[in-house]
């Protein structure tokens, strides 16, 4: 198991390196660069121009520049952003990566869970009324023009119903009186840490109780544990971090609508795929056997069919991850959510090459990590491809 993960990580590193090189040379090949904007000023003497070029790292052949870039990259120096001039690219990324990861993670989780459950039910009800309608709804979400859809969501939920704010990361009016001891990033970091700890503990609880034989007791433990954990989190925020609570709630309020929008975009594909995969599974002989044994249809659906139908869905999750990341870029742009996608777009529009490479590579890292996670998950789900063990 560990060996397999190690191998995947090593492969991904190679892929990442190839990707970085390709990106670098692709961006080098674009007509003109930032130096044109600085250097074409007639008031600048040749010496000053040379100094600028030197300072921005534009001297030497493309190969020399590339080698210098890679050297700096390995030490964590991604250069200086041109559009937000004195800031380091790395600092900008450090601020925005968590925001994208949060949006992407919650949306993927939500769309996968809802898509899988509804696809399962849809396949089970095959041939009943409303089946075509639900399929059309699924295809609608799969192929809808995202910016338009996101605009409709904003209009409906934030303008008509006034349920959620219509964009941005936080509401500045509420943050004016904030004490100086913390800032938005630290509040958001704490929120993410809470979510991560809560999620991991719930997962461990789930896995541990799966092994128990008595269903009734394990169910009680699971539910008790869930309530206890959520209670601890609530109490913790009310007491220890109570100063930050209103601000955290503000950020959370801004997070809900983009997450739902992104999840809806991804959900259609998962639902349709689960349905197709369930339909194939339902023809297997062991489903007939299970029926003949007289098991209840819910047991057959959830335990026998759905667990096997999960495999192809997980495989396709790999492909849909890239799809969701692409949708995330649009969601961030339309919702003015200051994450990697929005950074990439504005950097690309301003020809800020270091920031483009930086944010582009981090989107690739996000995709790579997500792939590895899905691969490991797949191995856990399908005993046939468990390596080594």
């Amino acid at each position: 198991m560990l060996k397999y993960v190690g191998k995947r990580v090593a492969q991904s590193l190679i892929v990442f390196f190839v990707f970085l090189t390709a990106t670098y040379f692709l961006l080098q090949a674009q007509p003109g660069d930032i130096s044109d904007q600085f250097l074409s000023n007639p008031k600048l003497t040749q010496e000053v121009r040379d100094q600028y070029a030197e300072r921005l790292g534009l001297t030497g052949t493309p190969l020399q520049q590339y080698i210098r870039y890679i050297k700096n990259f390995t030490t964590g120096n991604l250069g200086v952003s041109f559009s937000e001039y004195p800031r380091q690219v790395w600092d900008i990324l450090k601020e925005r990566v968590p925001r994208t990861v949060a949006l992407f993670f919650f949306a993927t989780l939500l769309s996968f869970l809802v898509g899988f459950k509804s696809g399962k039910v849809l396949a089970w009800r095959r041939g009943k009324r409303g089946e075509n309608l639900i399929t059309v709804v699924g295809v609608f979400f799969q192929t809808v023009f995202y910016p338009w859809f996101a605009l409709i969501m904003i209009r409906t939920f934030s303008f008509n119903f006034k349920l959620f704010p219509g964009g941005k990361f936080l509401n500045v009016e509420k943050w004016i009186d904030k004490p100086d001891t913390f800032d938005a990033n630290s509040v958001f970091g704490r929120m993410l840490a809470t979510a991560a700890v809560l999620g991991l503990t719930l997962l461990v609880l789930e896995v541990v109780t799966r092994r128990m034989h008595n269903r009734v007791i394990s169910q009680r433990i699971v539910w008790g544990g869930r309530i206890l954990l959520v209670g601890i989190v609530v109490v913790w925020w009310m007491t220890v971090w109570s100063v930050m609570l209103p601000y955290a709630l503000d950020i959370g309020d801004h997070l809900i609508l983009p997450t739902i929008t992104l999840a809806l975009i991804g959900f259609g594909g998962t639902m349709l795929l689960t349905r197709a995969s369930m339909l194939e599974t339902l023809r297997e002989d062991y489903i007939l056997t299970a029926r003949a044994k007289g098991l209840s249809s819910k047991t057959i659906r959830d335990k026998h069919a759905a667990r096997n139908a999960l495999l192809p869905v997980t495989t396709s999750l790999v492909i849909s991850l890239a799809f969701l990341i692409g949708g995330g870029v649009i969601t961030e742009t339309v919702f003015s959510w200051p994450g990697m996608g929005q950074t990439l777009l504005s950097a690309a529009l301003q020809e800020d090459v270091p920031l483009v490479i930086g944010s582009f590579t981090f989107i690739a890292v996000l995709a790579l990590v997500a792939h590895i996670v899905v691969d490991v998950l797949y191995m856990y789900l399908d005993p046939r491809i468990r390596v080594g063990d």
């Binding site: 192929t143 809808v144 023009f145 338009w148 859809f149 904003i154 194939e280 529009l349």
Partner: protein, 358 residues
């Protein structure tokens, strides 16, 4: 199984011309496929929508040459601002924008006006009327004409992207399945690299830094998806074809590598490629609309640009009263992309018998 491989043994015995047999077999296969396609209502809905949009695209040049005056109806440089007479009402009491105007806006035009008087207003996003069935956009251009003009661009883009995708995907898939070894590894690792990186960010970066037109975009989308996901799927299909007995038979009969690939493997992979063509059209149409919406493409008119115009001129939040600015274009992208997808799914059920209803 398509026509050519069924024929291998029967050519000598037959007295009919070869092309007639091929044609007849192809026709028979088409009719069989068509009947199961019609049985699936979802695919038929998709095909109907595609046909409707196709008719719209065809009708546009005809209308421009006959009924519509290019000065008014040209999708890019046309201009018309219908004059309407509006009643002036006190500020904040406007109920119907089509017939009423508030005092503040009226006084911007003529400071002497009072409540209750009428004012002739030239309207730029004009509401749908008999002359402009879907109204005009914020720059005074006819929305219906724009919509129909953009349909042609969408079809062109989708078809070019799909042809490039399938051309590359089928060739790469068949070649790497047939040769295996280093060729296979090279192409498949390349495909892995491409599917790994999200599609849209690549297009955003490239179209922001380079000058892109519609054809470039279509070819780029085709190349990316042809070397990417499509190649992987078509390769697995080609692999299962290349172990069939008729391939060995053709090889024993003295067929060269190129003959085997192009006359035997590719024709058998084509039905599946055709399916992926549909999905590729969907991708191309929605990517183009998204990129135009972000203002990244060098195109003068498309559905994405119609939404971009409405949004950048600030009509987003009044989209209930100015519905004709956002709804037709957004719905068209969704409908056309969705209907190609529906047709693809219906074809999937024909090509892939395991999905068929028992």
């Amino acid at each position: 199984m398509s026509a050519p491989d069924l024929l291998e043994g029967t050519v000598a015995a037959s007295e009919e011309a070869l092309w007639r047999i091929r044609l007849r077999l192809a026709w028979r296969g088409f009719r069989k496929g068509w009947s199961s396609f019609v049985a699936n209502r979802i695919g038929l809905v998709g095909l109907t929508i595609i046909t409707l949009y196709g008719l719209m695209a065809l009708a546009h040049p005809i209308l421009m040459h006959t009924v519509w005056d290019p000065k008014i109806y040209d999708p890019v440089v046309g201009y018309d601002a219908p004059v309407t007479t509006k009643v002036i009402v006190p500020d904040g009491e406007v109920v119907d924008i089509a017939t009423q105007v508030d005092l503040f806006s009226a006084r911007l035009i003529n400071p002497m006006l009072k409540v209750g008087e009428t004012l002739d207003v030239t309207e730029q996003p004009a509401a749908p009327s008999r002359t402009h069935l879907l109204g005009t956009d914020p720059l005074g251009r006819d929305v219906l004409s724009q919509l129909m003009y953009s349909t042609r661009a969408a079809f062109m883009l989708g078809i070019v992207a799909a042809l490039v995708t399938v051309g590359i995907g089928t060739t790469v898939g068949s070649v790497s399945a047939f040769f295996g070894g280093i060729v296979d590894t090279l192409f498949m690792r390349l495909a892995d690299l491409i599917i790994l990186v999200p599609f849209l960010p690549i297009l955003i970066v490239l179209s922001a830094l380079f000058h892109f037109e519609l054809l470039h975009l279509a070819i780029l989308i085709g190349v990316l998806s042809g070397f990417g996901g499509t190649a992987i799927i078509l390769k697995s299909q080609a692999l299962s074809v290349s172990v069939k007995p008729f391939i060995d038979a053709a090889r024993v009969a003295g067929g060269g590598r190129m003959h085997l690939i192009f006359r035997h493997i590719i024709p058998n992979v084509l039905p599946l490629s055709f399916l992926y063509m549909m999905f590729s059209v969907t991708d191309a149409i929605s990517s183009e609309a998204t990129l135009s919406f972000l203002g990244l493409l060098n195109i003068n008119m498309s559905w994405g640009i119609m939404i971009y115009t409405a949004n950048s001129q600030g009509y987003l939040l009044s989209s209930a009263s100015y519905w004709w600015l956002l709804l037709p274009a957004g719905l068209s992208v969704t409908l056309l992309a969705g209907s190609f997808y529906l047709v693809g799914r219906a074809m999937d059920e024909i090509i892939n018998p395991r999905l068929r209803r028992r």
